[in-house]
């Protein structure tokens, strides 16, 4: 049976958003809750605006920067694997929440994959918001018990002699995959390396690939 509940809300296109579109029930609820809490002085309206800016500033390019630095600088990689959060902060990536970050290194023998089986915990400070598929049942349910099959659905084949480790995130512990540096990238600069690193590679569902551009 497939899970065709309303988790699939994104499947049908949203109507164009215009200023005069009638807000839905839950949108009205969001506005009402927020305004009531601001009236009670539990927080300021400016804090919501500021947090929206923070959310907008978080994209996978931050995580890519961390990965590229780790590939270039072995001492940095060691610090990153020791404490993900402080190593990210070293690069100016602030953590706006109380989460800790554990960075999992892919090697020739081990491939890592991250999931949140209970909900949608994700390394938001370094990757931004998770894609919908990460929050939906098929990925959450299956990643922990048939990761190879899941990875095949992403087009990723992991040989049988490579161990797959799946890490299940919690409210306070988040994970980030440090992918394998692709072959042939020895001459690339740190910025060029960062450009190769994608969000999905840092979730662990695909490898980082590099094809040398034809001259």
């Amino acid at each position: 049976m497939t899970d065709h509940g309303h988790d699939h809300d994104h499947d049908h296109p949203h109507e164009a958003i215009t200023a005069d579109e009638r807000p839905g029930y839950y949108e009205i609820m969001e506005t009402a809750v927020r305004e009531l809490l601001v009236e009670r002085k539990l927080f300021g309206a400016d804090e919501i605006r500021r947090q929206i800016e923070v959310l907008d500033s978080r994209t996978p390019t931050l995580g890519a920067k961390v990965v590229a630095r780790a590939w270039m600088d072995p001492a940095y990689k060691e610090r990153l694997l020791e404490n993900g959060r402080t190593a990210c902060e070293e690069l100016g990536i602030t953590f706006y929440d109380d989460t800790q970050l554990i960075v999992l290194e892919n090697t020739a023998d081990v491939h890592n994959l991250i999931v949140c089986t209970l909900c949608s915990c994700y390394p938001r400070p370094v990757l931004g918001l998770p894609p919908d598929w990460y929050k939906l049942k098929p990925y959450r349910a299956r990643a922990v018990h048939e990761p190879r099959a899941v990875l095949e659905e992403f087009g990723t084949h992991i040989p049988d002699d490579v161990e797959i480790r799946v890490s299940d995130s919690t409210a306070v512990i988040r994970y980030l995959v440090l992918p394998l540096r692709p072959a042939g990238t020895e001459a690339l600069s740190e910025d060029e390396l960062a450009d190769l690193v994608t969000r999905d590679a840092m979730i662990g569902v695909i490898p980082v690939s590099y094809e040398k551009e034809a001259a």
């Binding site: 497939t2 309303h6 927080f43 899941v150």
Partner: protein
């Protein structure tokens, strides 16, 4: 399957279940969804509702609501319930405020036309 599984495995606890093929869907958040996300973060910063309380609040909506509401609809419904439980808001206050928000939108439509 015995009913004890309902006790041992709450609705969110789906790791290890069988499920369909992964469809690689994504969408840009709607403006209200992004506001809802920012609200969640601010509630967490102020220790009003933390991430785990939010998750349990969603779970407490029950499997029917979890199945029928979208991701951020579940969040705001959970926030409202948690705020009622904590005595920070009452259902009546929220209902009055929601009417006010809707009336304000209707008024803005009239003045615009």
């Amino acid at each position: 399957m015995g009913s004890e599984l309902l006790v041992k495995k709450l609705p969110n606890d789906i790791g290890g279940e069988s499920a369909g093929k992964i469809e690689r869907v994504e969408h840009e958040l709607l403006p209200w969804e992004k506001r809802c996300h920012a609200l969640a973060d601010v509630l967490d910063f102020h220790k009003i509702i933390n991430t785990e309380e939010k998750r349990r609040g969603v779970e407490a909506l029950g499997s029917e609501m979890v199945g029928k509401l979208t991701y951020y609809e579940r969040w705001i419904a959970a926030f409202a319930n948690i705020l009622f439980q904590k005595g920070i808001l009452t259902p009546g206050e929220l209902a009055v405020k929601m009417e006010e928000v809707e009336r304000r939108w209707l008024a803005s439509q009239q003045s615009a036309s």
